[in-house]
Subunit: 351 residues, 2 copies
């Protein structure tokens, strides 16, 4: 399960040094990178494009019926992207995997509000965003994002940082799945310091939270932003580790749940829970707001929204029902790896 | 059709002077109001409660099947409200008519961003909000809101203002309906100056606009905010005129369209267009943001969201189809009363 061990995993995620020697970046990139730890946007872009292609290939295979369409677009103010969406598949009611790389003269408010030193800088932002909405309510919805920002101003050193993470939004919870998801998230942080998983797990719980509902969006995972602490090459390696751990986290859960029988009751619950997903993305999500404020391509930004959604006034699940258990047990920040005492210093996970 | 003429209309909207002599406000209120044009929150609240009751009664009668539930709630930080929702009716898939009256120590950002003189003031806000989501896609969705704010600070005169309006969101457009809707909106402004309808019509077009789609939410109506220009009593009378013109604007359209046959195609289009409604309310709507930011009752605030909604990636109607005509003809700011040249100085409507 850990992609950091075993020969097959090398294929899934060729290591950073190997990538630098094979990807077709300019010699200028190579020189800078090998000499000192300079930011190398070309290398990030190359990786992100490869990531998007590999994710779509693996997810179409997992779906078994649907095909990813492909829309290449350019942005009037600079940059562009490639949106890939699969709709009405066998497994996925809607699956989107977007790449974008945009530039702008000034960072929009959603990006600079918390960091005044960024105001007035021009920026470049690239990333891959994935949202999967399966049809079967027993298969969780999930989200992956990895991104790289740089912000320039004449006469000043460029600022740069990585961001991203992955999180899981089940409709019906399974402890086994939650533990697998978080073990895999911890594995993504392996080699980057023992404190990293608990730190980013807590950040994820904090970020994917609906204040107006006092409710978590899902069972979390990893979330990082303004991330440059390891220098460029190693921070990129960490972003890659997160991205490469996404499928090993998600696909085993799909395999376990995709044949689970479901009916109208489960579907109705899924559609209502998807309403929470819409609320989060449109009210709070920084990526969505950044995209809308920076005049991104609306259809690409909003591909994250679920295909069919419902809102009922003041609906509450019956006490003791599986629907109620989702809210009471799974959608509460929880140390899913507490039982892994043999392999984990539990104090790391304490708040 | 014009509620300002004929005896029956007096019943529909007893005039302001008559209301002041009959409503059970304290003698303090009466004294202030009769002596000078002091703000009288008690009179506004009394009117709003009566408005809510009358709207629910008329809409339940129009529905012919559903019943409005009633939830009274209090807000931990001050105030409360009464939410009335009808779901799965014969006409309305979801209809909500809320009254709320809340207080707070400081106005939230959504209310004070544009008016720095309000920062740091305590506030009181009361209003009635209505959103109707009919099942038949030929019957338009509609929204009415009327509200009264006051903002206090020790040693300063209280500031107060009214806001509100109504707007119509058709799925399939009819010129006859659009003209009726806007004639009625103009009638609501009768007696308040010839400039008022064109001014508030333009404000409505500007407000109910999805920047990220470059698309109007519907065919507009009236929108006003920070409204105190006529002094308290006459500004209240204007707010009442808007509120009382809502049913005469909407019910004749319902009567004309409710038996119009519809099928899967119309339903699918309606569900996608409802997605735009969700986008507007969660991304832009000041009332929604104010409610969420001021820790209002979430279920009451989000009763505005449609019951069943869908998003499809990058869907566009077939050129020449009725669905395409909605977007190209109806969802474009337009002078619906241009043909009424005999009764209207057209220059008033020029931008």
């Amino acid at each position: 399960m850990n992609p950091w061990s075993g020969n097959n995993d090398r294929e899934r995620w060729p290591d950073l040094a190997a990538r630098y020697s094979t990807i077709g970046v300019s010699s200028d990139h190579e020189t800078k990178t090998s000499m000192i730890d300079q930011p190398d946007p070309g290398a990030v872009e190359e990786y992100l494009l490869s990531l998007q292609a590999r994710l779509c290939e693996a997810l179409a295979r997992a779906d078994g019926g649907g095909v990813f369409g492909e829309d290449r677009w350019t942005r009037p103010n600079g940059g562009g992207g490639c949106s890939r969406v699969l709709e009405e598949g066998a497994l996925f009611e809607k699956a989107g995997v977007n790449f974008s790389h945009v530039h702008g003269a000034a960072l929009p408010a959603s990006a600079s509000a918390a960091r005044p030193e960024l105001a007035g800088r021009s920026f470049s932002a690239m990333g891959v965003s994935l949202v999967l909405h399966p049809r079967n309510p027993y298969v969780p919805t999930t989200h992956l994002n990895v991104r790289f920002f740089s912000a320039q101003k004449p006469g000043a050193e460029p600022l740069w940082w990585f961001g991203g993470g992955f999180d899981l939004t089940p409709y019906y919870g399974f402890e086994e799945d939650a533990r697998h998801w978080h073990r895999n998230a911890r594995a993504a942080c392996n080699g980057f310091g023992d404190q990293l998983y608990p730190e980013l797990k807590r950040a994820c719980d904090r970020y994917f939270y609906l204040k107006h509902r006092d409710e978590a969006r899902g069972i979390g995972g990893l979330f990082f932003d303004d991330f440059s602490r390891f220098g460029f090459a190693r921070s990129l390696a960490f972003m890659q580790a997160v991205a490469e751990h996404f499928l090993p986290g998600y696909l085993p859960i799909v395999a376990r749940r995709r044949e689970h029988p479901w009916g109208d009751r489960e579907r109705a619950f899924q559609m209502m829970r998807r309403g929470r997903y819409v609320e989060f993305n449109l009210v709070y999500d920084r990526g969505t707001l950044f995209g809308l404020q920076s005049c991104g391509r609306t259809e690409s930004i909003l591909m994250s929204l679920p295909p069919n959604v419902s809102w009922r006034y003041d609906w509450h699940p019956e006490p003791g029902s599986p629907e109620s258990r989702l809210m009471e047990y799974f959608l509460v920040p929880r140390d899913w790896l507490a039982a892994d005492a043999t392999s984990l210093d539990e104090s790391l996970l304490a708040e």
